[in-house]
C-alpha cells in the first residue's frame, strides 16, 4: 500500500518538498536591489574578508516561504498532543503572547535608564515574589537562561557557601541518584565536584539506606550536596525527601532539588518546606512559556536562607524610591558569587510566566498540578494492564512503562515509537530514565482533554495489539506516512554532516564566486 504518488514537482498535493536554503538561494544574487556603494576605500586593513562568505541570496517571499514550509513540517504543541515525558509540553496560552508584545515589555532595551523601565523592573520583582511564594524560599536568581543554567547557578551558590566556610578542599562529593537527569552529574562535574551515584530501590525511589550509607562514608564531611529531582524521573514522589534533607543538613551538606518536575506539585507543595536549599524552575515547563523561548530560555533559581546571600548579580530591589537593579558588587554587602549573564535574564519569558501565574491565580495553579497528575494517572491506569509498568502507581505527572510487554515480539521501544508517528503522535520520551529497560515515559500534562487522551490511549491499545499479533511491518518500517522514512541514526551519529558544502561545480557551471 502506497500513500504517495509520483509527481513532477516532487510535492504531494499542498505538502511541499523543501530544499535547503543554500540550494534555493544563489550566492551571486541579492534579495534586495541596492545601488552600488561608491568606492570609499576600505578601513578594515588586515581584518578585511579574504574571500566571499557564500551566503545564499533570496527574495523576501522566497525566504519567507522557506521558513513557513519548514515550520509546517515541525510537530509542535500547537499541532497536537506531545506526550514527551520529563519535558512538560503544555499548552502555551495566547494571552501570554499578547502580554509579551506590549510595547513597554517588548520594545525595551537592557541598557535603557532604569527610571524609564520601572514597569519592567516591577514585573521582575512581582515574578520573583510569585516564585518565592510558590516555592517557600526567601530568594530567587532570575538571570539563568535555561534549566541547566539554573542548575549551574544553584550549584555555584552551594560552592560559594562551602568556600565561605573554608571547606572547598574537603567537600568534594555530590550524591546523585541513578535516575537523575543527565544535567545533574554534568553540572556537578563542571564545578569540580566528584559525582557519587545512589541506587534506586525496588519502588523506583532513592534507596534511603543506600543514601545514608553513601552519606556517612566519611562521616559526611566530604559531601557537598545531593542533587535530587522530586517528583523523580520515574514520575514518582520521593517520600523520604525530608529525612534525606535532614540527614544531609546534619553533616553540613546542601540540598539541590532539580525543579524540572515542579509542574506536578506547584501550588500544593513548597520545596522550601522539604528542606531544599536551591532549585531551578523551568519557566517553559511549569509556567507555560514556549520551549526554547524564541531565543534563550529561562531557569530562575530559588535559594534558601543558607544560600540567599550568594545569589548572582544582578537582582532587583525595591528601596521605597522605585525599583533598582543591583548590578555591581560595590552596590551590595552580599557575598554574591558574581554574574552569570550579560544582562538581567530573559524578559520575554518573565512576562509570559507572570501572565500565566496571574491568569491562573494560586487556586488555578493548584489545579494545574492536580489535573497534570490526574491525566498521567488516567493514562497509567488505562494502559498498565496492556503495557508493562515497572513500578506500582499511582504516579505523579508522568506514566512510566518498560518494554516488558514487547518481549518476544521482535519489536523494541524505538520501533513502537516510530509507529506512533504514523498514527499522528509525537512519541513519548524513550530509553529514559535509564534505570528502566526500554523506558517509555508519557507526560500528557494538564491541558489535554479527556477526549484527546482517550484517542491516544485507544491508539496505544491498537498498537500494542498489533505488536502482540506479530504485525512486524507496521513497526519495523515505520514511519511510512511522515515526510521522511526512518532515518539511519547510527550512520548520522558516526558520520555526522554538520554543514552544507558547495557541491563540486560541473564543468559548464562557471562564473560562481571563485575560491
Amino acid at each position: 500500500m502506497s500513500t504517495t504518488k509520483q509527481t513532477y514537482s516532487g510535492n504531494q498535493g499542498l505538502v511541499l518538498e523543501e530544499a535547503l536554503i543554500f540550494e534555493i538561494g544563489v550566492v551571486s544574487k541579492c534579495g534586495v536591489d541596492m545601488e552600488a556603494i561608491p568606492d570609499t576605500g576600505s578601513m578594515l586593513g588586515d581584518c578585511a574578508a579574504e574571500q566571499a562568505v557564500d551566503l545564499p541570496g533570496l527574495s523576501e517571499p522566497e525566504a519567507m516561504r522557506h521558513y513557513v514550509r519548514l515550520s509546517q513540517k515541525n510537530h509542535s504543541i500547537d499541532a497536537g498532543l506531545y506526550p514527551l515525558g520529563s519535558c512538560t509540553m503544555k499548552h502555551n496560552p495566547r494571552l501570554n503572547e499578547k502580554m509579551a508584545r506590549l510595547p513597554g515589555f517588548g520594545d525595551i532595551h537592557p541598557l535603557q535608564p532604569q527610571s524609564s523601565v520601572q514597569g519592567a523592573l516591577q514585573l521582575m520583582d512581582t515574578l520573583a515574589h510569585w516564585l518565592k511564594t510558590l516555592t517557600g524560599m526567601p530568594a530567587v536568581a532570575l538571570s539563568p537562561k535555561a534549566g541547566a543554567h539554573g542548575e549551574l547557578c544553584g550549584m555555584m551558590a552551594i560552592r560559594a557557601a562551602i568556600e565561605a566556610k573554608g571547606e572547598l578542599e574537603t567537600r568534594k562529593r555530590v550524591l546523585v541518584p541513578e535516575s537523575a537527569h543527565g544535567t545533574n552529574p554534568a553540572t556537578a562535574a563542571l564545578l569540580g565536584f566528584k559525582v557519587d551515584g545512589i541506587p534506586a530501590d525496588a519502588d523506583g525511589r532513592v534507596d534511603l539506606q543506600a543514601f545514608k550509607a553513601k552519606l556517612n562514608e566519611n562521616g559526611g564531611q566530604d559531601v557537598a550536596a545531593i542533587m535530587l529531582t522530586n517528583p523523580n524521573t520515574c514520575g514518582l514522589f520521593e517520600r523520604d525527601i525530608i529525612e534525606i534533607a535532614d540527614a544531609l543538613h546534619e553533616v553540613g551538606g546542601y540540598f539541590y532539588c532539580d525543579g524540572a518536575n515542579f509542574n506536578a506539585i506547584v501550588g500544593r507543595v513548597r520545596p522550601g518546606d522539604l528542606g531544599v536549599d536551591a532549585m531551578h524552575i523551568n519557566l517553559h515547563k511549569t509556567f507555560s512559556t514556549p520551549h526554547g523561548g524564541g531565543g534563550p530560555g529561562s531557569g530562575p533559581t530559588v535559594l534558601s536562607d543558607r544560600l540567599a546571600a550568594f545569589a548572582p548579580l544582578p537582582f532587583v530591589v525595591d528601596d521605597g524610591d522605585g525599583f533598582k537593579l543591583i548590578e555591581d558588587a560595590s552596590q551590595t554587602d552580599q557575598p554574591s558569587f558574581g554574574r552569570m549573564v550579560a544582562f538581567h535574564g530573559q524578559m520575554g519569558m518573565f512576562v509570559r510566566a507572570l501572565s500565566y501565574m496571574m491568569s491562573h491565580g494560586s487556586d488555578g495553579l493548584r489545579q494545574v498540578a492536580e489535573d497534570a497528575v490526574l491525566n498521567a494517572n488516567y493514562v497509567l491506569a488505562s494502559l498498565k494492564d496492556l503495557m508493562s509498568a515497572p513500578f506500582n502507581g499511582p504516579c505523579m505527572h508522568e506514566a512510566l512503562f518498560d518494554d516488558g510487554f514487547l518481549k518476544g515480539t521482535g519489536i523494541d521501544t524505538l520501533d513502537f515509537a516510530k509507529a506512533m508517528i504514523d498514527e499522528g503522535y509525537h512519541p513519548m520520551t524513550m530509553y529514559f530514565p535509564l534505570v528502566v529497560h526500554g523506558a517509555m515515559l508519557i507526560e500528557p500534562t494538564e491541558t489535554e482533554s479527556k477526549a484527546t487522551l482517550d484517542l491516544f490511549i485507544g491508539t496505544m491499545c491498537d498498537l500494542v495489539a498489533g505488536a502482540k499479533s506479530g504485525d512486524l511491518a507496521r513497526f519495523k518500517q515505520a514511519p511510512e506516512l511522515a515526510p521522511r522514512r526512518r532515518l539511519d541514526e547510527t550512520l548520522a551519529a558516526r558520520n555526522p554532516v554538520l554543514r552544507w558544502r558547495q557541491p563540486e561545480p560541473d564543468a559548464q557551471v562557471t562564473g560562481q564566486a571563485a575560491e
Binding site: G182, Y431, L434, H437, E489, T490, A493, R494
Partner: protein, 124 residues
C-alpha cells in the same frame, strides 16, 4: 588466563603483566549501536572504579570504569574511527585499553565467566 568480569559489564584478560579491558557482549547489546568511544591515553594512572573511558550509543552515553588500579599502557586507537568494533567484536577487536596492575590481588574480587553469566541471567 581466563577472563574476569565486573558488575559494570567489563571483561579483563591478563597476559603476563598486562590486563586488557573491554565491555561484554551483553553490555554492547544493551547499549545498541555504538557511535563514539573515547579511550584513555597511555600513561594515565587509574584507581579501581575511576572513569577510564566513555562509550556512546544511539541510546545512551556511559562511562567505562577502571576495573583495577594501575597505569594505562595503551588505548585502542582503532575505536576512534571504527566504534562499531565494540558491537561487532566486543570480546576481541573491540577492546578498550590495556593496563598494568598495581595490585594484582584486586583480580580475585572479580567474577569468573560462570559467575558473570549467572549475574547477567539474574538481570533478566
Amino acid at each position: 588466563m581466563s577472563k574476569k568480569f565486573t558488575k559494570d559489564h567489563e571483561w579483563i584478560s591478563l597476559d603476563g603483566d598486562i590486563a586488557t579491558v573491554g565491555i561484554t557482549a551483553y553490555a554492547q547489546e544493551q547499549l545498541g549501536d555504538v557511535v563514539f568511544v573515547e579511550v584513555p591515553e597511555a600513561g594515565r594512572q587509574v584507581s579501581q572504579g575511576d572513569d577510564a573511558a566513555v562509550v556512546e550509543s544511539v541510546k545512551a552515553a556511559s562511562e567505562v570504569y577502571a576495573p583495577l588500579s594501575g597505569e594505562v599502557v595503551e588505548g585502542n586507537g582503532a575505536l576512534e574511527a571504527n566504534p562499531e568494533l565494540v558491537n561487532q567484536s566486543p570480546d576481541e577487536d573491540g577492546w578498550f585499553f590495556k593496563m598494568t596492575l598495581s595490585d594484582a590481588g584486586q583480580l580475585d574480587e572479580l567474577m569468573d565467566e560462570a559467575a558473570y553469566q549467572a549475574f547477567v541471567k539474574e538481570l533478566g
